[in-house]
């Protein structure tokens, strides 16, 4: 065997991620979910521009003479009571919903991973106190605090990111902590200590990257939860404010007029539910792929 061949063979061992990718590819539901999500992201990002360029209206262009009209060739999802194109509004609302989902999840991830890693790495008394705090926070009716926050401090979208992120980080902290505790005793971490690295460097460069698998799984499952919470708040009138719009806002609009104009409820609901379906299936698929042991249960 020549030298290059040897090298090629040496490289062909499968890593954890390649294994996971192979398993994921076999999961039809997960693959369909990836396709659906890609489509949703593409449609919500590019859709409003394409419609503006071809049909010439945006999410806020009113046509009061037209008013609410049922789905037609001109307006695929119909129009709302102000004559605004519902397809454009659904796509634009989806943009905001997805944005909130991603940003708030990122906030919760940063909080949860940092907190969990510090607690797990410190161990002992510090760990006990930190996790006890999480236990207590778990018992609190957080949704209620988010509602109060949103009402009192103005309903702006940045506060929404923070408030939702602050609710969802607890489980992440627990997951990361238990991972870190098992990693802490491993030889390679001992080696970094021997080499005299600072704790912060050990945590952020050597421990956290190794907790990535469970974190990714949980993040995928957090995004739909966050989107639900955003929609819930918007439905109560506390989330995204007009003229901005999100699926929750559109659904709330739809509920008010569902007797006369059911399409105003049905299309945004379908969009939200389909996205949540895809995210949940993808999360389940990733869990099965990255953690085959859990899949058997």
């Amino acid at each position: 065997m020549s030298q290059p061949d040897l090298l090629e063979n040496a490289e062909s061992g499968t890593s954890l991620w390649q294994d996971a990718w192979h398993r994921l590819q076999k999961n039809k539901l997960a693959i369909i979910s990836v396709v659906v999500l890609t489509f949703v992201v593409f449609a919500t990002v590019a859709g409003p521009w394409i419609i503006a360029a071809t049909a010439g209206y945006t999410y806020r262009d009113q046509d009061t003479a037209l008013g609410a009209s049922s789905p037609s060739l001109q307006h695929w999802f119909g129009t709302d009571t102000l004559g605004r194109d519902l397809l454009t509004r659904t796509l634009y609302g989806g943009r905001i919903s997805l944005l909130v989902g991603l940003v708030a999840t990122a906030v919760s991830m940063i909080l949860g991973v940092t907190y969990g890693a510090i607690a797990g790495f410190a161990g002992g008394r510090t760990d006990q106190v930190m996790m006890r705090i999480v236990d207590v926070l778990y018992a609190l009716p957080f949704t209620i605090f988010v509602i109060i926050l949103m009402v009192l401090f103005g309903r702006n979208i940045y506060l929404l990111f923070l408030a939702i992120g602050a609710v969802e980080w607890l489980t992440m902290a627990r997951i990361v902590r238990s991972q870190v505790i098992s990693l802490r005793e491993k030889e390679f971490i001992e080696a970094t200590r021997v080499m005299g690295f600072r704790s912060s460097r050990i945590i952020f460069q050597h421990i956290i990257p190794n907790t990535l698998g469970p974190v990714i799984i949980y993040v995928t499952l957090t995004v739909p939860q966050v989107m639900l919470l955003e929609a819930f708040l918007s439905f109560l009138g506390l989330g995204v404010q007009p003229p901005m719009s999100s699926w929750g806002v559109l659904i709330e609009d739809g509920v008010r007029t569902m007797e006369e104009y059911p399409w105003m409820l049905i299309f945004p609901s379908l969009a939200l539910s389909a996205t949540l379906f895809a995210l949940n299936f993808l999360g389940d698929g990733l869990r099965d792929a990255l953690d085959p042991k859990a899949a058997k249960e």
Binding site: V136, Y138, A139, L140, P141, T143, I144, F145, I147, I148, L149, V151, L152, F153, G154, P224, L228, A231, F232, F235, L236, G237, G248, I251, E252, G254, V255, M258, E259, P262, L265, I266, S269, L272, S273, L276, F277, N280, F281, E297
Partner: protein, 307 residues
């Protein structure tokens, strides 16, 4: 066990104190007040209002006065609905929300448990996939979508059910179903997972070897162990049922505490906000404790770990 319960009850005091404190100062720090009206209230009236509601005292004084009242069960006067005190409002609204929550839980258990057990008895067949797909649908269709859709179909189009209200039994069907659906879905998934794990254990094989019928094996031996994850989930679920009712009460126009809370938050009715938050927090703490005690009572391993 008694010691465990007492210890937990003792932690309630600092937690509730923290909640009162956070809510009190959060509400006060926020810009705007309960008497910000569209048209300006005369200076003199404003001063009298503030005096009547103890708003002219220094903040720490107001805080201490409020705490003193809470200890005696007096949650103060409502700023926006002065016809009753906050305690009276809560006593009037809470039973409705509790009833709704209880029905929701009942729906969740009555649908979720059988669905999970049926799915687990024949894993990876149609009998498994059908209830589990429904469960996924239950998780992905939020209650504020499900509720209006149910109203649209069963009340407006078919005319089988009333659209809203909370007086007759018929009016309670759709709200209870809507509230319970998500939890039915989670419980079905948890039951299935728990049952599958238990049904692979040796003691189940022993039960089968004794010649018990499959029904007896599942219902007598399987369910006992298989339902433990569900019991552990009941604590968080009941908390969710309470906050879930905000939306349900809005959709079906039910005069419960959830609607009162959201309204109070919008109106900046300080005392009403604090009163409802306090009640919700207490409920969540108590229900979590009940779920934990139930869990310990059913699972000897948990009992050992808390003793």
């Amino acid at each position: 066990m008694i010691r465990f319960i007492l210890k937990r009850l003792a932690t309630f005091v600092p937690v509730l104190l923290a909640i009162i404190t956070i809510t009190f100062f959060m509400v006060r720090i926020a810009p705007g007040g309960p008497f910000d009206e569209e048209r300006k209230v005369p200076e003199e009236t404003l001063r009298q209002l503030q005096k009547a509601y103890n708003l002219d005292a220094p903040l720490y004084r107001q805080y201490l006065d409020y705490l003193g009242g809470v200890v005696q069960g007096d949650l103060g006067p409502s700023f926006k609905k002065p016809s009753r005190t906050v305690t009276e409002w809560i006593l009037m609204r809470l039973p409705v929300s509790l009833e709704l929550g209880a029905y929701g839980l009942l729906v969740a258990l009555c649908i979720g448990l059988p669905a999970g057990i049926i799915a687990a008895s024949r894993p990876n067949t149609a009998q498994d996939y059908a209830p589990m797909s429904l469960a996924m649908a239950g998780i992905c269709i939020p209650n504020f979508v499900l509720g209006p859709l149910l109203v649209l179909v069963f009340a407006l189009w078919l005319g089988w059910m009333p659209v809203a209200g909370w007086d007759t039994p018929a009016e309670k069907v759709l709200p209870s179903l809507t509230l319970g659906a998500v939890y039915a879905a989670y419980i079905a998934r948890l039951t299935r997972g728990g049952m599958l794990e238990v049904m692979g254990q040796d003691y189940i094989r022993t039960a089968r070897a004794k010649g018990l019928s499959e029904t007896a094996v599942v219902l007598k031996h399987g369910v006992r162990g298989g339902l433990l994850p569900v019991i552990a989930y009941l604590g968080p679920a009941t908390a969710g049922l309470l906050t879930g009712s905000f939306v349900i009460e809005k959709i079906f126009q039910i005069p419960g505490l959830g609607r009162e809370f959201v309204e109070a938050a919008f109106n900046r009715d300080y005392t009403m906000i604090m009163g409802t938050v306090l009640v919700y927090a207490t409920l969540v703490l108590v229900l979590n404790l009940v779920a934990d005690v139930l869990h310990a009572w059913l699972d000897p391993r948990v009992r050992m770990s808390i003793q």
